[in-house]
Symmetry: C2
Subunit: 303 residues, 2 copies
């Protein structure tokens, strides 16, 4: 089944202890779409400026990514400039130039409106709500957000969280959102609001996935070379939702969400091995299967 993503497409300028790149392709919807495209057909909703390379849009379209929901607007593409220290878990922002993203108010193409799987990337909660209003009974909706919206837009954010199935945030965000330092208590609070699952992203420490009756902890893969963590969270989300959308079979069981978590982790572990989408866009199904096997070897024990 297909999978709709709404989010940013951007140019990123990034400095890390391992190098520096200027205006490379990034953005949450870009990373998400590429990651998910290995597993399910994707419908992309985003906006870029006239300066965005048409070759990249063609590259996306040549995969299983439907770009009819991508608007090319007059003006410049969203540009994020930031850096990482050795602690790759913390991104430091230098500048954020919203450019064409400032007026982003997506109207879904008619044929997108009954997409069963939906990922609402990190954009204004009012826009996330607006997308949901345009959808017809999606089967599963996941949502990402960030500290900026938690502080500046708590009302609409809470309204949209209450309507989704899965909240995907990092540790700092769930603490800020719930006022609970303890992650288990925080997740329980969110589950009381409406979502049935909370996925807490912990960077190099992996992922904690909580539902009403179960907990699942997945490590990140201990890589020897991590170049650039940008896009890891969105690649994770893309692998996660891509697995669920692409899967054959009936109702989703807890074991499906666990395997989705591992697909997300596996694909995200490739993203950080290079700047931009370089590694992510050049995977084979064998690469992904092999990394899943490595994750199994990394976590397996017998009592």
């Amino acid at each position: 089944m297909s999978l709709l993503v709404v989010g940013s497409m951007a140019f990123d300028s990034i400095r890390s202890p391992f190098g520096e790149v200027e205006k490379v392709v990034g953005g949450s919807a870009t990373y998400f779409s590429l990651a998910a495209s290995y597993l399910a057909p994707v419908r992309l909703v985003s906006v870029v400026g006239a300066d965005f390379p048409p070759a990249v849009i063609r590259m996306l379209g040549s995969r299983s990514i439907d770009t009819r929901g991508l608007t090319v607007a007059e003006g410049k593409t969203f540009h994020w400039k930031g850096f990482y220290e050795y602690d790759l878990n913390t991104a430091h922002t230098v500048t954020t130039e919203l450019n064409v993203f400032r007026d982003f108010a997506p109207v879904l193409p008619e044929e997108y409106r009954d997409t069963p799987y939906v990922f609402l990337g990190n954009i204004a909660p009012s826009l996330q709500l607006d997308i949901l209003r345009q959808m017809r009974r999606p089967k599963l909706v996941a949502l990402d957000t960030m500290n900026y919206w938690i502080e500046s837009s708590p009302g609409p954010l809470r309204e949209v969280i209450d309507k989704v199935d899965i909240l995907m945030v990092n540790e700092g965000e769930i603490r800020m959102l719930t006022g609970e330092y303890n992650l288990v208590k925080g997740a329980r609070k969110v589950i009381g609001w409406g979502p049935s699952r909370v996925v807490i992203k912990r960077g190099e420490y992996g992922v904690l996935h909580l539902s009403d009756g179960t907990m699942f902890a997945a490590p990140a893969y201990p890589l020897e070379t991590i170049f650039d963590p940008t896009g890891a969270g969105d690649s994770f989300a893309g692998g996660f939702m891509g697995y669920l959308a692409g899967r054959k079979g009936g109702d989703l069981a807890d074991s499906d969400f666990r395997l989705a978590t591992m697909y997300g982790s596996a694909i995200a572990s490739f993203t950080v091995e290079a700047f931009s989408t370089e590694r992510l866009q050049n995977l084979t199904p064998e690469d992904i299967a092999e990394r899943l096997g490595s994750f199994l070897a990394l976590t397996e024990f017998r009592v």
Copy 2:
């Protein structure tokens, strides 16, 4: 088989967001011995002052802990005073009163010298070396250390590390010790020095266990109430080494070290549920088996 531990016994005065305690029983050898005593007979080497409660020594002796190597010296017991903020991964020291521990220079009882399993707790590297010199061909030796010794005693520390089988440290310590920020690279460097395994303790994020050809990642158990992380690392080490020492069967395989890691994690997860050794000293074999089962449920997935 039996298991020798050398380390501190102490009074701890601790403040955390969840309460405050004054001069409760602590120390690395105390936590280690109690944790290991569920799984193997322990031989304890430490020193306390005349102010240390005889009832606690009797309690240790009433379990499978041999206290002939425990010296009761004139003077006061080692006293650590510290606090935790909400981030329970970081202990802030207020004062350290070494007291009788300042002159600790253990001479092993004759019947201790052929103990097959040895844990060298966090004490001066020169003392750790001295203990090793008194042992006859131990089967497996693990070592803990801390930033203080890495800075002040690099020569003797390196000498003792080269002689042990397993180095158990936290993330900051392996970085400081090896000059490598990346944990996989740091572990590889240590393995090049002599140890065959490196166990990296990451507090609430669990444990990363690396050997020459394998990696194993174990999460910490996501608890809803964590009162006091003091002693978690030593309880982990006690469960880990206790499992290996108590196990029946021939040569140790990688799967044994994995299960040892889970025993350590399970027992440590009880330690943090209360101040001091309160919870740790009141476990049943069923508690431990049940927690191991919970860890399996926490990490299991099928590809």
